[in-house]
């Protein structure tokens, strides 16, 4: 499928070139983010009646995983409010580049940490506490505030968006799954970049900032680390950067050989399955173990969680990539075949979220009228009774999502197999078993 250059449309180009629309959206979201922190602190402790829980873990999550990631990839990162205050402080400016840069430490991020292991560790840390995080407003408020202050602190010590690129637990999986999205930011002609003096897309100019994500756009070949901040479109003196509409999953045609990305795929796949079992399954003992943080039952739950995501799934998958000639080929095969788990994992999360979001969706209307749970009725929707939405359609939609994920995963494995000269059958069988397992947990 050929690409369609969206920035070739004058209205889109104008909207992207101007920093205004993006700033307005991000600033409004920042206001909502700060309100969510406040609501978590001062609002009702009843999770399903508190804005922080309902709007972060139901409304935002639904938009992110059901719409933004599958359709726009890192589209959320383009307007995410978390890096905003830190970036303003770092730059000494809110909109256009300042004449004089403020003197912060401006250090390079340590070379040994330039990967997504820390993001994965952060995600796992939150995942182990997720039953409390998803249901307790004050804990959600603490985590949201911690992320905001971490982003500010890192902006004052390190250059660019170190938090987004290397630490954000959400950004890690958005980046992984953004490879499946039908939208990309790429350069138009590589030769223009080779002859371009000063590389303003990376270093910045009076027209805009150097890439906040520490990426040289001329070398972009996949979406994972491009935050769609659009700065390179503003700074490129040759108008050589575009936003394109492309085939779904185009990045998966060039599978990654990085272990940190491979393990991210296992962590996300395993987490979706564990959440489906713990949160949506009928086993009360699992729910209590996940919720009672610090108890022996929780420690066992945490150990099993880590064991499944970091040992069991990668171990079984490794068996599917055997035999290998040496360590290098094993790593290559293991990592590149794991790209099959990217569409599979995304569809697992979509299937999980459909049930979670549609069941609890009516809380959004109620919380909109009474965000703090104080008895308000701002829009007349506070008393809307809880009712699962589209409950008869949930199972068919989940089945469809899992079917698409399986076919997409097997197709990706076949692509890798033709290059690795290794059969795709074992990895396809792994994907089938995982899908049947997820199906059993959900349907």
């Amino acid at each position: 499928m050929s690409k369609l250059e969206l920035t070739g449309i004058p209205v889109v180009k104008a909207a992207v070139k101007s920093r205004g629309p993006q700033l307005v959206i991000a600033t409004l979201l920042l206001a909502g983010y700060v309100f969510a922190i406040m609501a978590g602190w001062i609002g009702t402790p009843v999770g399903n009646a508190n804005f922080s829980i309902v709007f972060v873990w139901i409304a935002w999550w639904a938009i992110l995983i059901l719409v933004a990631v599958p359709l726009l990839g890192r589209g959320w990162c383009a307007v995410c409010p978390i890096p905003l205050p830190g970036e303003w402080i770092q730059r000494g400016a809110i909109l256009a580049p300042a004449e004089r840069r403020p003197k912060w430490l401006n250090r390079r991020w340590p070379k040994s940490l330039r990967n997504i292991w820390l993001q994965s560790a952060g995600f796992l840390l939150l995942a182990l506490f997720s039953s409390v995080l998803l249901t307790t407003p004050s804990v959600t408020a603490i985590v949201l505030a911690a992320m905001l202050f971490a982003a500010i602190g890192l902006s004052m010590v390190f250059e660019r968006r170190a938090f987004c690129r290397y630490l954000c637990p959400v950004g890690g999986f958005i980046g992984l799954y953004s490879q499946t999205a039908p939208v990309e930011l790429r350069i138009k002609d590589k030769r223009e970049c080779v002859t371009c003096e000063g590389k303003p897309c990376y270093r910045g100019s009076q027209n805009g900032y150097g890439c906040p994500w520490d990426v040289f756009p001329g070398g972009l070949s996949k979406n994972t680390y491009c935050g769609l901040c659009m700065e390179c479109i503003r700074t490129c003196p040759k108008d050589n950067v575009s936003i394109n509409l492309r085939a779904w999953g185009a990045d998966l045609e060039r599978p990654s050989a990085r272990l940190d990305e491979a393990f991210k795929a296992f962590i996300m796949l395993g987490s979706a399955m564990i959440y489906a079992g713990v949160l949506l399954g009928p086993w009360g003992v699992l729910k209590n173990a996940a919720y009672q943080v610090g108890t022996p039952a929780w420690l066992l739950y945490a150990s099993v969680f880590l064991g499944i995501t970091l040992l069991l799934l990668p171990g079984l998958f490794a068996l599917c990539t055997l035999p290998f000639r040496n360590r290098r080929t094993f790593k290559m095969n293991f990592a590149s075949f794991s790209s099959a788990l990217i569409p599979l994992g995304l569809m697992f999360w979509i299937a999980f979220s459909l049930s979670f979001v549609l069941t609890n969706g009516t809380y959004i209307a109620a919380s909109l009228s009474d965000p703090l749970g104080l008895g308000w009725n701002l829009f007349g929707t506070a008393k809307i009774a809880w009712q699962p939405l589209l409950s008869s359609l949930v199972a068919p939609m989940q089945t469809l999502a899992l079917l698409v994920g399986l076919i997409w995963a097997v197709r990706t494995a076949q692509r890798v197999s033709s290059k690795a000269q290794r059969s795709a059958v074992p990895v396809s069988a792994f994907c089938l078993v995982m899908t049947l397992g997820m199906l059993w947990l959900l349907v």
């Binding site: 060039r254 399986l406 076949q414 199906l439």
Partner: protein
């Protein structure tokens, strides 16, 4: 091209059959009256999975052992609520086969949105059909030509 079209049509037909064809009725599926005691406590039902046959007249006796709990049956849209120590009953005819979730519909604590059980009416045909579709999908993907990988490998 023609062969691909034939494969595609056959697979589509097989998929439609698996998804929608009526399944044979089990020999033990005579409608009966069933009275089932369901204990609710934070955040589980006991039994956690309720099994009945299609056409059964089901009476669920909900007993709450700690705080106020409810029981809402997905797909049927019926519900009941019980105070601690109180028994409340809900009677309905299980005339829709399949596997449904039962959920607490009274805020009963932090994990309330996840207080879930299962209500199976007959065999879980949804899972069987869905698994069948997955297998058809696997057959389909192996029948069609494999795409070539790009030469360059990104890092």
């Amino acid at each position: 091209m023609r062969l691909s079209l034939v494969y595609g049509l056959v697979l589509l037909l097989a998929g439609l059959v698996v998804a929608f064809a009526p399944l044979p009725v089990s020999a033990h599926s005579e409608a009966a009256t069933r009275i089932i005691r369901v204990e609710a406590s934070q955040y589980a039902y006991s039994p956690s999975v309720i099994e009945v046959n299609p056409g059964d007249t089901v009476t669920l006796q909900l007993v709450s052992t700690d705080v106020v709990h409810g029981l809402y049956v997905d797909g049927y849209g019926v519900s009941v609520q019980a105070d601690p120590g109180q028994t409340r009953t809900l009677t309905f005819v299980a005339n829709r086969p399949g596997s449904f979730r039962i959920r607490c519909n009274v805020t009963c604590g932090a994990m309330h949105p996840f207080m879930i059980g299962k209500f199976n009416v007959g065999r879980n045909t949804t899972w069987v059909r869905a698994a069948g579709l997955m297998l058809i999908g696997m057959v389909g993907i192996s029948l069609f030509p494999r795409p070539k990988a790009h030469e360059a490998e990104s890092t």
